[in-house]
């Protein structure tokens, strides 16, 4: 559960970082933006999401080289991160829907016992 929360948080930060780049423009991207993307890339690589990390590497390289193709690489990174998000969301949703009715809590039983007494 903790791993899932961390991954969810990392995905939110990734979406925000990519949206920030799109809003401000890739030509205006500076060392701070690249450091942020690099840290996220490493985080996703460590989490086993190699495909997302690979897309981020390509984007970072293209932005660093001031390559016109950086826009397309950013868009591909967005597509990949959203697809990953979707797959994770559906996996989690299936788990949430499979939740069983919780058993009656022990303390509630105790309260009833006390009432009986």
């Amino acid at each position: 559960m903790e791993e899932l929360t961390e991954l969810r948080d990392a995905l939110d930060r990734l979406h925000t970082a990519l949206d920030d780049l799109a809003m401000r423009g890739l030509r205006a991207a500076g060392p701070q933006d690249l450091a942020r993307l690099t840290a996220l890339r490493d985080e996703f690589r460590a989490a086993g999401a190699g495909h997302v990390a690979e897309r981020l590497t390509t984007t970072i390289d293209a932005v660093r080289a001031d390559d016109r193709s950086s826009a397309a690489t950013l868009l591909r990174a967005m597509v990949t991160s959203r697809l990953f998000d979707r797959m994770l969301t559906l996996e989690v949703a299936a788990g949430l829907l499979a939740a069983e009715e919780p058993a009656v809590a022990d303390n509630e039983e105790s309260d009833e016992d006390e009432d009986d007494e």
């Binding site: 809003m23 868009l75 697809l83 979707r86 969301t89 559906l90 299936a94």
Partner: protein
């Protein structure tokens, strides 16, 4: 079906211009978007409509709406939504260009999203819920969630059906969304009849299969007539989490998936509604709803169009017991179960997003310059 050979170069050029425009916008920054940018996308949208590129047209329409909000410095502007739809439009334009170049008809059809249409002679339906969407200065849309009462091939008894009605909204026009329900349709009925809790007979319609519900569309010859009162609403309170899980398991995710695409119509019996809070995006209010072991997040517009639903949820929240069955749409978003409450059955359906305030029809028609 691929467009005719004569049309292909024109379409390829439009798609190329569109993907280049999106890339240029990302290079220079979306803050450089202007009225001219919006017009470029609007022009591509017209071409998309001409070539019946429904998916691309829909993505461009949403991007244009968001750009309009950005240009107008509207507080409801969502950069997440803008980048999402620009990205989607870019992906579709690149994919369609590739399908044209390689004359890949199957891929072209998948990307244009042209579900097969079947005629429906006549079908009796009831309305379980109404989705209301308002995009200021752009449109008001209502989506009627219907249920077929009897077999009427190709429709089967109990089948979930959706019929939508969209009304363009002129910038600066400030009238309640519900007013549009009282405007006459081409087929000589007003959509407000769907509020009457009756059985409706729809004739000469078309049916298209869609991931978010089988969609009915009306033709010039269609009729929609309210008949008798309906009371057996409880027969539709049949949600099964197992079926929803099965649908998720069978689904193959793709880059064109929308969060709202895998919708389930569900009914909550025993539930509690928690305190409202700010949503993830600007202009959203969220309510935690718990039903048995399930925790849902209900998202409601914080703007005027969400006022009736917010008031209804506040009233339901106060009830200590005997809460009415709550019907709505479930979808999956950000690893959560997102719920859109639509109807409280008391026991007649109370369509929660629809305001009960009276509409001054004369003032409405005057505002819309109807003669």
């Amino acid at each position: 079906m691929l467009p005719g050979a004569a049309d292909r170069p024109k379409l390829a050029a439009v798609l190329g211009q569109l993907s280049s425009a999106v890339e240029e916008l990302l290079l220079s920054g979306l803050t450089t978007a202007s009225e001219a940018t919006r017009q470029t996308i609007a022009a591509a949208m017209q071409e998309a409509a001409r070539f019946r590129l429904l998916r691309l047209g829909s993505a461009l329409r949403s991007a244009t709406e968001e750009l309009s909000r950005f240009i107008a410095q509207d507080s409801a502007f969502s950069r997440r939504r803008l980048t999402f739809f620009l990205c989607r439009a870019w992906l579709l334009s690149r994919g369609l260009s590739h399908a044209l170049q390689t004359t890949d008809e199957k891929e072209y059809d998948r990307l244009t999203w042209s579900p097969p249409v079947q005629p429906v002679q006549a079908v009796d339906v009831v309305c379980l819920g109404i989705v209301k969407r308002v995009s200021p200065g752009a449109f008001v849309a209502f989506e009627f969630r219907l249920r077929a009462l009897a077999d009427s091939p190709p429709v089967q008894a109990g089948q979930r059906l959706v019929w939508s009605s969209v009304f363009p909204l002129k910038p600066g026009l400030d009238i309640p969304a519900e007013g549009f329900l009282h405007l006459p349709q081409k087929q000589k009925f007003t959509t407000s009849i769907f509020l009457e809790q009756k059985i409706f007979t729809i004739t000469a319609a078309n049916l298209a299969r869609d991931d978010s519900g089988d969609r009915l569309s009306l033709t010039e010859q269609s009729t929609v007539v309210a008949t008798s009162k309906f009371s057996d609403w409880a027969k539709f309170f049949d949600w099964s989490p197992a079926a929803a899980i099965e649908r998720i398991r069978k689904h193959t995710s793709g880059p064109l998936d929308l969060d709202t695409e895998m919708q389930e119509e569900i009914v909550l019996g025993d539930y509690t509604i928690g305190k409202e809070a700010d949503g993830d995006s600007p202009g959203q209010t969220i309510y935690p709803i718990t039903a048995g072991p399930f925790h849902f997040t209900a998202v409601v517009s914080s703007a005027a169009d969400g006022k009736p639903l917010r008031a209804q949820l506040a009233e339901l929240r106060k009830l200590k017991k005997d809460r009415p069955p709550l019907y709505g749409l479930l979808h999956y978003e950000r690893c959560r179960l997102a719920f859109q409450p639509l109807t409280a059955f008391r026991p007649e359906p109370d369509y929660l997003p629809i305001s009960k305030e009276n509409i001054n029809k004369a003032a409405l028609l005057k505002a819309l310059s109807f003669k």
